[in-house]
Amino acid sequence: MASGATLASKSALPGAGGIKTVSAGSSGRAAADADPNQPLLDVRGVTIQYKTQRHLVTATYRVGFNVLQGDRFVVLGPSGCGKSTLLKAVGGYLQPTEGEIRLKGELIKKPGPDRIMVFQEFDQLLPWKTVLENVAFPLKTTGTLHAKAAQERAMDYIKMVNLSKFAHSYPHTLSGGMKQRVAIARAMAMEPDILLMDEPFAALDALTRVRMQDELLALWDEIRFTVLFVTHSIPEAIKIGSRILLLSPHPGQVKAEINSVPRGQENSNEAAALGREIHEMLFADQIEEAPNA
């Protein structure tokens, strides 16, 4: 923490005072809903360090970006660029050593149900609960809804991911894709301010992955949720994202923040060109790194 303090004292970051003035105290929530230009999620100069047994690892260095209401914001980078670490910091599981992360103007200090995380691992579903119980679980434990209303809303979202038939099945009887659909339904049923997805489709086979991507986009068309989506796949980033943040590895630094191609044009020539552009930017890093390694 000592190093964090010195880092923080030095952080006279450009623009640190600029956008900040918009959110004013308790009216922050209402202001965020009213003003579409107020960033929903404001990540500013975030450096994250963590200790392993032997090293102090700097995962990201002074990363900053804004996520607006309704964004499909993709964080893209090779492995080791700290993108998952960054997502965990937004989730509140880690504290940045420098910089700050604000959701609707509120500083993020700990995990909370206003940011629901969808993990890559299939074991994120609680095996002792059925699909319906899993989806209703956060609604009940956080006191969002009472038993009956929670069941109804859970059922609505299960229907939305086409799993009504399996509402009373236990997770171990489902396939990987179905488990991820339940996890997505569980996250969306909470209607969080922002959905955090940590490579949710990475452990799926290629065919299922494409289907899940289509389904996620269809759900977005319906509900227009805000999602922060982490991936290492360039085609997935172009297809899912409306805006893409490119991170360089070791430590993660912002390389670019670009717009993706419009919805439904992920097979167009522009998409292919964008893919090449992104690929070159990521590839440039590897050439720089090679002599060091």
Binding site: Y93, K110, P111, D123, W128, P138, Y170, H172
Partner: protein
């Protein structure tokens, strides 16, 4: 290479499911019978009983090994005249008190151990010291502290249950996956709500294994303790029944007592724990 270019595309018609005769076929009756694990186990028991009967008759010395039929006669007789049921009941009562107390204490100890580092050290040191110590070795001390009675028995039972359960529960808590823990924290669960809603169900297979071991330790310890000082509050348990029968040279009754202990052990394992397992860890797919 040229030949590969010349090959035509091949398309074939597939049959719909309605055109197939049998896709799933039920098992035959002998296969179904053999698939029942309790039937296989009963077959093993029958063979063992037959071997005992033959050996007992061949030896022809009922003071050493009475045949199985003799032991069964004694068992049926003492069960029907109410001796064995009342003795067993008195043993089971004491056992339940000790087992429940031990489990609750183990639970407290584990939560303490899981939440603080010093608690972990405490639990680890205590288990390292006391787990290898046979509970029965504490009985003389217990008799001095708590006198002749249920108190001493409960003390040794708690000792025999607590460490095994605590050790397994802690191991279970530690093996709960990071993802599941993060899911719980995502929903603002913390403290005892986190333990109750996430850790205990997620670690249930280990906890159940600990309870099984604890139960076996407790049952063993109780019978041994009863053999040593027998009567508690005027009513002896099964251990005392065996001791009495041996003193009166009623060897079939001794075997009847041993059989009762085994039968109760089997019943707890195959009825009580099986019931809990099928309702929990098996249904949840945590154990096959």
């Amino acid at each position: 290479m040229l030949e590969a270019m010349q090959r035509a595309n091949i398309y074939s018609e597939t049959l719909g499911p309605e055109q197939f005769g049998i896709i799933q076929k039920p098992l035959t009756l002998p296969e179904k019978i053999y698939n029942q694990s309790w039937l296989r186990k009963i077959a093993i028991l029958v063979v063992l009983a037959a071997a005992w009967e033959i050996y007992g008759r061949w030896l022809d010395n009922p003071l050493l090994v009475p045949p199985f039929s003799e032991a069964m006669r004694a068992l049926v007789e003492d069960v029907s005249n109410g001796t064995i049921p009342s003795r067993a009941l008195s043993s089971i009562q004491v056992l339940l008190i000790g087992f429940t107390t031990g489990t609750l204490l183990a639970g407290l100890l584990t939560v303490f151990a899981f939440s603080t580092r010093i608690g972990t050290d405490f639990l680890e040191t205590m288990t390292a010291m006391f787990n290898p110590l046979p509970a029965i070795a504490l009985l003389p001390l217990a008799l001095i502290w708590f006198g002749l009675g249920v108190g001493s028995l409960v003390f040794v039972l708690v000792h025999s249950v607590m460490w095994a359960v605590a050790l397994n529960t802690l191991a279970g808590f530690r093996s709960v996956s990071m993802t599941v823990r993060m899911v719980g924290r995502n929903y603002n669960l913390n403290g005892l709500r986190f333990v109750g809603k996430i850790l205990i169900p997620a670690a249930f297979p280990s906890i159940l294994a600990g309870l099984k071991i604890g139960w076996a330790f407790a049952w063993r310890t109780l019978i041994a303790a009863e053999l040593i000082f027998g009567v508690s509050s005027g009513q002896g348990g099964l251990g005392w029944y065996i001791f009495e029968s041996k003193n009166q040279l009623n060897i079939p009754e001794v075997f009847a007592g041993l059989l009762t202990i085994i039968l109760i052990g089997l019943a707890v394992e195959n009825v009580v724990f099986r019931f809990v397992e099928t309702r929990t860890v098996q249904r949840w797919g945590m154990q096959t």
